[in-house]
């Protein structure tokens, strides 16, 4: 079968062609009847626009000293929102540090979330049980083991719910990824292992992170792997929805590799000019997930320019609202340094606390 030549794809997209429903130019290339109403499809676009605007605001907030180091997600909106959107309220997510867009879909309060980046709390400033969104996790791949343990708990409880772990391409090199994935297979748990392969792990391209294709790892663990175009929000939604359905039906875990691209720096502390050609980023912009989905939605008549303008306006207002909240977030009381370490603190611990607080 001859494939029409499109624009050159990022190097890490090479190899097995991913599941794709909408081509980079916005034309349908698969069955786009995925069971979502036009209003819901429009809502997906709205979420992507709102998330991107907030991401950019966060970078500005960092530059202005209102946030500590911030890891942007521009270019990964479809991967995050398409996947999080496929989850139900009973499902649970264990994220990395780059899933603010997914957190918004799960209903996590952005200002609370950003306490993490403001340096006023650790990875769990929001309530992970209420939001069913686990703490932001920095030690690479460790949260995948948490997700598998959580999924095992759901299975033991006989729930029809699953647990989704997010992680990056670089994360697949850690022992914890492997141990967790293998255990997921052995215990046959309702887990979705969702890899955002954005081409980079700080300065190391995926092509030097592993010599294999990430989705293929699944076969060695005895469960299905799926490669999906991570910049095609519909394809991501479908792949995740199917994995979630498998999990809920007791059919075990799925590994999803979503091919996307990290358009920005690794974080506001990073200077990609040291290791990446600007030209590569320019090429990758052709695959922008928002442009692609908007083009398709407009062509399909599901949205119009008025709607898009309303999304932009909402995004702007939301970014300003979050900014105000962030800027207003005070430092936590000093006691908090001692108040959460133990559920049952010892007398010795309380003594240290009193001493430290001068009580």
């Amino acid at each position: 079968m001859s494939v029409p030549a499109g624009p050159p794809e990022p190097a890490h997209w090479a190899g097995t062609p991913p599941l794709r429903l909408i081509a980079p130019d916005g034309t349908a290339v698969g069955d786009t009847e995925v069971g979502l109403e036009p209003a819901v499809l429009a809502d997906l676009l709205r979420r992507m626009i709102v998330a991107r605007r907030l991401d950019r605001e966060c970078i500005a907030l960092q530059r202005q000293g209102e946030l500590t180091v911030y890891p942007g997600f521009e270019g990964q909106e479809a991967a995050q929102i398409g996947s999080a959107f496929a989850l139900g309220p009973e499902d649970f997510v264990f994220p990395t540090f780059r899933e603010l867009a997914a957190a918004l879909v799960r209903g996590v309060d952005a200002v609370q979330y950003l306490q993490y980046h403001r340096g006023t709390w650790h990875g769990g400033p929001y309530d992970p049980r209420a939001t069913r969104f686990g703490p932001i996790s920095i030690p690479i791949a460790t949260q995948i083991a948490h997700a598998v343990g959580h999924a095992l708990g759901q299975k033991l409880d006989g729930l029809s719910a699953c647990t989704l772990a997010y992680f990056g391409d670089g994360s697949t090199s850690e022992g914890d990824f492997h141990e967790a994935a293998n255990m997921a297979g052995v215990f046959d748990v309702p887990a979705v292992l969702f890899c955002q392969n954005n081409g980079w792990a700080i300065s190391v391209p995926t092509t030097r992170q592993t010599a294999g294709e990430i989705w293929r790892r699944a076969e060695g663990y005895g469960f299905p792997g799926v490669r999906v175009d991570g910049n095609d929000v519909l394809a991501v939604y479908v792949a995740t929805r199917d994995a979630v359905a498998r999990a809920r039906a007791g059919e075990g875990p799925t590994l999803i590799e979503a091919l996307t691209y990290r358009v920005g720096a690794h974080s506001t502390a990073d200077d990609p000019g040291r290791y990446r050609e600007d030209a590569e980023v320019e090429l990758a912009r052709v695959f922008d997930p928002i442009t692609r989905f908007r083009t398709w939605l407009l062509a399909a008549g599901h949205v119009d320019q008025v709607f898009i303008a309303s999304c932009d306006a909402e995004a702007e207002a939301f970014a300003m609202e979050v900014r105000a909240g962030v800027v207003d977030t005070p430092a936590p009381p000093v006691e908090w340094m001692f108040d959460w370490t133990f559920a049952a603190p010892s007398e010795a611990f309380q003594r240290m606390r009193r001493e430290a607080l001068g009580e």
Partner: protein
């Protein structure tokens, strides 16, 4: 409270797990070979048969994964007892234990507890091979967010393990391999002192030996020998390495003026360092001699044929007490 009978440490720990599993349907026991094999030291013997393979199960050989799974299970409302097969085989999980097990409650501001018990057959004295004789306590005691206990006898083993499992916080239980088959008669109960409380296992006012685990019996032997020389030595079984029983440490220093700490771990930054520093802080003016340290050396745990030269002996302990007394 169970009937009075003779218990081994292994048997008492087994009973603690059995009783806890029976009382709490949301308690799980998992690790390498804890199922039908019953564990290298038989501590989980029969539990899978009794409680089913859903609640007592073998895992792949994935220590980090095991610890990580326990964290995830805690989010799902399950309480876990996990086993690492030997001291050194707990090290692959150190990242999960330090970064997550110990810190998770803090990270999520108390919204999720981490009721995880980490059982580790530990310490030397069984002619084990390399990596089977390590004393890992420093790694755990220094890690804020963990509690660490070490039983020295069967009956106290039962009590400490029950307290550990019931605790809403993560507790590391270091089980002295050399004492698994030691025997003690009595009824199993955990009504007595919990985590954070030490006990005096022999009275004496001339000096105090502070120790834990398998060294308790060696120190009791030393105290007996010292009594022969007219030195009345108190022996303290710490039971809990984190938190430490500061009151008891202070009392020993105040009442005897001479404290010797004994452990198998290498000297530098072994427990004796912390205890020496605390005793000085708590009772400087009462000390008649520097706090003595009788410990392993700062070398890798030696092969079986040398371990007797590495572990504190009755002779080394007695000599240190005499040195303190004669200071």
């Amino acid at each position: 409270m169970s009937e009075v009978r003779e218990w081994t440490l292994s048997g008492a720990l087994n009973q603690a797990l059995r009783d806890a599993l029976a009382e709490d349907p949301r308690l799980l026991v998992f690790g390498e070979d804890v199922g039908m094999s019953g564990g290298v030291f038989r501590v989980t013997d029969g539990l899978q048969t009794e409680f089913g393979a859903e609640r007592v199960f073998d895992t792949p050989i994935s220590e980090a994964g095991i610890a990580g799974a326990a964290v995830g299970l805690a989010f799902a409302g399950w309480r876990s007892v996990i086993e690492f097969q030997f001291d050194a085989f707990s090290y692959p999980a150190l990242e999960q234990v330090i970064d997550h097990v110990a810190k998770m409650r803090e990270r999520v501001r108390g919204r999720v507890d981490m009721p995880i018990t980490i059982r580790i057959p530990s310490f030397g004295g069984i002619r084990g091979k390399e990596h089977h004789g390590e004393s890992p306590e420093t790694y755990y005691v220094h890690t804020a967010g963990l509690k660490v206990v070490v039983p020295s006898s069967p009956l106290d083993g039962y009590a400490l393990l029950r307290h550990a499992i019931a605790d809403p916080d993560p507790v590391v239980v270091l089980e002295p391999k050399a004492r698994y088959w030691s025997k003690e008669a009595g009824a199993l109960t955990w009504d007595g002192p919990g985590i954070g409380v030490g006990r005096v296992v022999r009275e004496g006012d001339d000096a105090a030996i502070v120790t834990y685990g398998a060294m308790v019996s060696t120190c009791l032997e030393a105290a007996e020998a010292l009594a022969g020389e007219g030195v009345q030595t108190r022996v303290v079984d710490l039971r809990s390495l984190s938190p430490l029983d500061d009151e008891l440490l202070a009392r020993c220093a105040v009442e005897t003026g001479r404290v010797v700490v004994v452990h198998e771990a290498p000297r530098t930054l072994g427990m004796a360092a912390e205890i020496a520093a605390r005793v000085m802080e708590l009772a400087f003016d009462h000390l008649e001699a520097p706090v003595g340290r009788v410990t392993g050396y700062d070398v890798p745990y030696p092969p079986a044929s040398l371990e007797a030269h590495y572990r504190p002996s009755v002779e080394r302990i007695s000599a240190a007490v005499l040195q303190a007394v004669r200071y």
